[in-house]
């Protein structure tokens, strides 16, 4: 084959190009990884204490250094990546009314080789948690109200629902509220829908799921903030009694709803999702117990239980606290027990048979449990008690046998508990919402009538 001068030129250029290509590849990515969005944003002023810190990058993430994100004051939590998003989920809620500085570490790398070339620092300020409750009203629809825990500001109506709100749940990041409300005039009598509103009162209601032939209630958020689980009782024909409760998914992004379980005969009520989002606990009437359903592998653990009330998950998602009926020689009481999902063992933490303990609620740090206590089979009102996580050191917070205390909720910083109470001495007692300072035992009324108090973190 004759090699001309032109051939030589061509092969020289080809060699040069190959060399340049290799050089460009060897030099690697000279671009930094670009941050598209910080959540909470730079200098955000009223950030929920339950916020999950999220950073959205321009490219799909491949690996992160350890630690990828640090806080001042320090916050412990878990960091995960999903596509272009890095999420930091604090183990416990952030401190209210506090300035936080966040440092995103250099070295976070994307699948295309780009790396975050320098630390990114920003600040935000957490808000003071507020109290939400339902205000019952004989004449107007029941609405969600918001109140300041200091009691200095008159509670104000937050929702603008055309029909009565029966139950509600605050989203994991505190930005939205899902609630079930009876159907409005246009709907079928006796049914209830799922609605959504912003927790700041803007967009006060949005019909999320119309249930024209069912009672849809008790919405429960998944930690991702995109999905809900709710109870659904089908009404076969107008005017007929509602059927048995079943659990359903509701995807907020697509609006799709479908049964949680393929077996349509599987019943369930009082759904509670573990804080890490791996478990779903619910009362299973067929099994006479609590079912713990693992989302990851689809397996279930049955915890025998005759009480049939919702359980409460420890913040580390390893243990549930629940109340159950205990009997011995025709004497009954209600005891609390802890069930470890890893060892699948249960331990009774109540002090003997002669107690009626119920409504256990873990403190935000998982070290204490608040619960309702009274002497079994007595007419006294249920009192608020505290115990350590292992059942030791059980002490009363309230001591007024004429008052019945229920529906406890810890403040995000673990210093207060809000609750609902009734005066047993009044014939037509109205429910009211109160707050108690755990250290001092000082109590204060928030609103009357009011019920189902919870924190807006």
């Amino acid at each position: 084959m004759k090699i001309s001068r032109f051939d030589t030129i061509i092969w020289s250029i080809v060699s040069l190009l190959v060399g340049l290509i290799l050089l460009v590849i060897l030099l690697g990515n000279q671009l930094g990884l670009e941050v598209l969005q910080l959540r909470p944003g730079l200098d955000a002023a009223t950030v929920s204490t339950k916020i999950h810190i999220q950073v959205t990058f321009a490219d799909d993430l491949a690996s992160i250094p350890n630690p990828a994100i640090t806080f001042s004051p320090p916050v412990s939590g878990t960091t995960s990546i999903d596509g272009k998003t890095l999420t930091f989920q604090p183990v416990t809620p952030l401190q209210p009314n506090t300035d936080y500085q966040v440092i995103l570490s250099e070295g976070i790398s994307a699948e295309n080789g780009r790396r975050l070339k320098e630390d990114i620092t920003w600040q935000f300020h957490t808000s003071q948690p507020q109290i939400l409750f339902i205000k019952p009203d004989e004449n107007d629809p029941e609405q969600i109200y918001i109140a300041d825990p200091s009691g200095t500001i008159v509670p104000k109506q937050l929702s603008q629902s055309p029909s009565s709100i029966k139950a509600f749940a605050v989203s994991p990041d505190g930005s939205r509220i899902a609630y079930s409300a009876t159907t409005s005039e246009s709907g079928q009598a006796g049914t209830s829908d799922i609605w959504l509103m912003n927790s700041d009162g803007s967009d006060a209601y949005l019909l999320l799921l119309p249930c024209v032939d069912a009672i849809c209630s008790n919405p429960e958020w998944l930690p991702d903030g995109h999905r809900l689980i709710y109870e659904r009782r089908q009404i076969p024909v107008p005017g007929a009694a509602a059927g048995n409760p079943r659990l359903y998914w509701l995807d907020l992004l697509t609006g799709e709803t479908k049964p949680v379980f393929a077996d349509s005969q599987r019943l369930g009520l009082f759904p509670v999702v573990s804080p890490d989002g791996k478990w779903l606990s619910f009362v299973s009437p067929q099994d006479m117990g609590i079912q713990l359903y693992n989302f990851d592998d689809g397996t279930s653990i049955l915890v025998p239980n005759r009480m049939g009330t919702a359980v409460n998950w420890r913040p580390d998602s390893q243990t549930i606290a629940m109340a159950d009926i205990v009997t011995q020689e025709q004497v009954w009481g209600i005891n609390l027990s802890l069930f470890d999902v890893n060892t699948e063992t249960s331990v009774n933490i109540s002090e003997g048979m002669q107690v009626d303990d119920s409504g256990p609620v873990w403190s935000p740090d998982g070290q204490q449990i608040a619960f309702g206590h009274k002497i079994a089979r007595s007419a006294m009102g249920r009192q608020i008690w505290l115990m350590n996580a292992d059942g030791s050191h059980q002490i009363p917070l309230t001591d007024d046998t004429d008052i019945h205390h229920i529906n406890f909720a810890w403040s995000p910083d673990g210093q207060f508990i809000i609750y609902q109470r009734y005066n047993l001495e009044e014939l037509y007692a109205q429910p009211s919402v109160w707050i108690i300072d755990i250290q001092s035992g000082e109590t204060m009324e928030i609103a009357t009538p009011a019920m189902q108090p919870t924190w807006l973190p």
């Binding site: 001309s4 001068r5 032109f6 051939d7 030129i9 061509i10 250029i13 080809v14 190009l17 190959v18 340049l20 290509i21 460009v24 590849i25 030099l27 690697g28 990515n29 000279q30 671009l31 670009e34 490219d59 799909d60 994307a110 699948e111 295309n112 080789g113 780009r114």
Partner: protein, 366 residues
Amino acid sequence: MKTTDLDAQRSSSENLEGKERSTETAVSYPSSSRAVNIIRLLTGVLVLLIFAGVLPGDIRYFLDDKLQTYTTIFLGIFIEAVPFLLAGSLVSGFIAVFIDRDMITNYVPRRAVPAALTGALMGFVFPVCECGVVPVTRRLYKKGLPLPVGITFLLSAPVINPIVLASTYVAFGFGPILIGRYLLTFLIAFTIGIIFHFAKPEDVLRPAEETGIGLVNTCNIMPTSTEGQSKQRGLLAIITAADDFLDMSRYLIIGSLLAAGMQTFIAQGILLGFGSDSTLSVIAMMVLAFVMSICSTVDAFLALSFANVFTTGSVLSFLVFGPMVDIKSALMFLGVFRRRTVLYLILLPLLFTLLIAIFINLNLGL
């Protein structure tokens, strides 16, 4: 040195002109070539596949299924390309009859840079895609077009023309993809045109007797009146276009058969997994562009579907390299250039595009 090169080129062009004159006096027929043999071979394989009914069930089902896919893809590519080849052949026929050699000699620059610049922008005069550009280029060479102008035109015209400008704008709007596509195509075509300035036409182009290109014998159909001459010149242009069309069709058929084969029997899904990798995404998209052989007038819409998954550099490489070289156009190049030149015309755009696209991904972050 430059004067010597130009002289040599001019001399070569004159030689080609002489050959053209000798061939234009007789009807030319495509000579039996290796390409025809390949067609025969592929036809034989197809017949065998059709008779695959005697094979075991699973294999027969597999072959039936693949054959159906293969046929569909082949027809898709071929039917999409034929109108553009026809348009290119018509332009070629009219160039053969109506454009005088002196026009090209007088108006087309011969110095390297102006020549390459002219070639890069000629797509706006002859808006043809990669199928149509080959016969046009071939015809222009016969009319004495300087080598660098033709090379630059061949590589740039499938993109730098108003039709593709409109389709790319509709798909991507005015932004980095549109600008990048035109800038890169111009830059690469221009550079390669400059490189080919150093080549002698006789080393690069196939001799006229091999290409079979020419005009039909006009002695018997040319009337003596001026009006009659115009009509007959039009007829002659169409006949020449038909001749060109038939001549180039064989390359298009072989290229389409090969492209369909590659798409049918090679799993392209694997390539889609490299979407976010700075280097592999570019290679994957260039392979896709080469194999899929999509016409440049519509490739922007396909590229749009990759835009959210693949890197910007790789999408650009698809839009720049594909119109310059793909399976069917590479086969069609054989009708104009020597085999070694065809290899260069594949290698150079490939390496230039690869270099620039990877550089964009790693350094510019568009």
